[in-house]
Amino acid sequence: MGISKETMQAIIREYGGFDLSDEELDLVQPEVDGYLEAMAGVADLDLVDVMSSRLLRAAEGGTEDA
């Protein structure tokens, strides 16, 4: 797991990100790894029928079969 430094440098370059040296990428890496690990944990989670929390004011807490 993890994104290579080459990929991160390419993302910064191609998407107009904030420059980071390779040494600085080492410092960023634990946070990036944590993010990737967390997303790997939901990779198989079926979210098709789950609403987004961006839907403000939507009623919450329906029963299982509602």
Binding site: I3, M8, I11, I12, Y15, G17, F18, L20, E24, L27, V28, Q29, P30, E31, V32, D33, G34, Y35, E37, A38, M39, G41, V42, L45, L47, V50, M51, S52, S53, R54, L55, E60, G61, G62, T63, E64
Partner: protein, 473 residues
């Protein structure tokens, strides 16, 4: 009673004495400022102390009393304000060098509300740089120290407020809580910390935040004082679209009410999975104490907590966007812990942000369903007592956990889920570690049911082993 001894009282105890003019707001403020001056070299809890402004305000409050005007229980009460809340004409740094000379033109709405209620602001309190962490070990303004043991952190990011309330400098302090930053200092400093329902209190004037899950909340020395503070803060703000037009009840009305007939849910998963044994013992004892008060206890399951880490995708993205203008203009003024944590956000995919929003919804739905079967939930507030200030990592159960900087987040694992689901949560002191550090228990309620949380928390507070014990700084 000597003025210095007044500082150890609560707002609830002081308010009637101020109303009757037995206690002078000026003398009280002078005593609080003297204690602040005395303890600042030890606690480093303020970034800016406002001696003249506070005394001027105290004289005005005293004059009103002489004219027969009493604003209510916060009249003449010295409080602290976290330095990421805008204060008109007063430097508001957000704990950063980037905003070291920032002087806002307007007060945060909560500052206006507190002053309208008669409170006296002693100063702007120290915090984690940009409120982005749990230690309050600030690289620019120095570390805040825990009044129970000066070698330990007070928690963060609202550490100055937690330290001040515990040490009797302020009677209440306003903090902000984006992942636990009111409740963590509450637990580590042995005081009450409230994060009310998202939308209950205006965030207007809260600086450099993501607005997705941030809350402004009070730290106090009693549950009754927490209720008084929320009474002043709660309400719809038409200029803050995150607030909700829900009526504000009398939060003190249920205090002292019978707890029998209530049902508490104890999560069978996640919250007790990675926890220090002394913390678990104290929280289990708190649960037993509530049972003795008539609360029924049932085990509940929250399987969606397995996915809570995915919310990190949203918080990382929000963070880098929030900081974008400052990263562009003043990157060299950042400390290493915050900047490298923040810059990780530029690698988050939009797809993952969208997934995080769905996972957030999944978690909210699950808590809502569980809270249909129980009245409230009980968890440890933190997995461990306060770490040492110089600790980069802590060991627990054979695993190493980062305490600050990139990759950290362990300290807030039990509090941050409630920033995602928006539910009200309050921490109350529930004992001490063998090393004499405070431990907190967290009560979590249904949306906008803070009154029930206050009733439960106040009932427990009466039997807590922490009751009446204050730090000797």
């Amino acid at each position: 009673m000597p003025n210095d001894a007044l500082l150890d009282l609560t707002i609830s105890e002081l308010a009637p004495r101020i109303a009757s003019r037995e206690v002078s707001p000026v003398e009280l403020t002078e005593a609080a400022l003297a204690r602040a001056d005395q303890l600042q070299p030890k606690l480093n809890s303020f970034i800016t102390l406002l001696h003249e402004r506070a005394l001027e305000r105290a004289r005005a409050m005293e004059a009103e009393l002489a004219d027969g005007k009493y604003r209510g229980p916060l009249h003449g009460i010295p409080i602290g304000i976290k330095d990421n809340l805008a204060t008109r004409g007063i430097r508001s740094t957000v704990g950063s060098l980037v905003l070291a000379d920032n002087v806002p033109d307007e007060d945060a709405q909560v500052v206006t509300l507190c002053e309208d209620a008669g409170a006296i602001i002693l100063g702007k309190e120290n915090l984690e740089e940009f409120a982005a962490g749990a230690t309050s070990n600030n690289p620019h303004y120095g570390a805040v120290h825990n009044p129970w043991n000066l070698d330990h952190i007070p928690g963060g990011s609202s550490g100055g407020g937690g330290a001040n309330v515990a040490a009797g400098v302020t009677f209440a302090s306003l903090g902000t809580d984006l992942g636990g930053s009111v409740r963590l200092p509450g637990a580590f400093c042995g005081v009450v910390g409230l994060k009310q329902t998202f939308g209950r209190v205006s965030q207007r004037g809260l600086m450099v935040t993501s607005f997705n899950g941030d809350h402004i909340g009070p730290m106090t020395r009693s549950v009754a004082d927490s209720a008084l503070m929320l009474q002043a803060l709660a309400g719809y703000d038409p200029l803050d679209p995150s607030t909700v037009p829900v009526p504000v009840p009398d939060y003190s009305a249920g205090l002292g009410g019978d707890l029998s007939g209530l049902t508490a849910g104890i999560p069978a998963n996640y919250f007790f999975d990675e926890i220090d044994s002394e913390v678990e013992t104290s929280v289990r004892n708190a649960i037993a104490a509530l049972q003795e008060l008539g609360v029924s206890v049932v085990e509940v399951s929250l399987p969606s907590m397995e996915y809570v880490g995915a919310l990190r995708a949203a918080s990382l993205s929000d963070g880098v966007v929030t900081h974008e203008p400052y990263l562009t203009s003043d990157r060299d003024k950042y400390g290493p812990n915050v900047i490298y944590r923040t810059l990780a956000g530029q690698f988050v995919l939009g797809r993952d942000y969208s997934k995080a929003m769905k996972v957030q919804r999944l978690i909210k739905e699950e808590y809502a369903r569980v809270l249909q079967g129980v009245d409230f939930l009980i968890t440890p507030t933190t997995p461990i007592p306060a770490p040492r200030i110089d600790a980069l990592d802590i060991e627990l159960g054979g695993e190493t956990h980062r305490v600050r900087g990139p990759g950290s987040g362990f300290i807030s694992r039990n509090t941050s889920p409630m920033n995602g689901n928006g539910l009200p949560a309050i921490t109350v002191p529930c004992g001490f570690s063998d090393g004499g550090l405070p431990i907190g228990v967290q009560f979590i309620g249904r949306p906008f049911e803070e009154s029930l949380l206050f009733q439960v928390a106040a009932g427990y507070e009466q039997v807590s082993p922490s009751r009446g014990i204050r730090p000797q700084v």
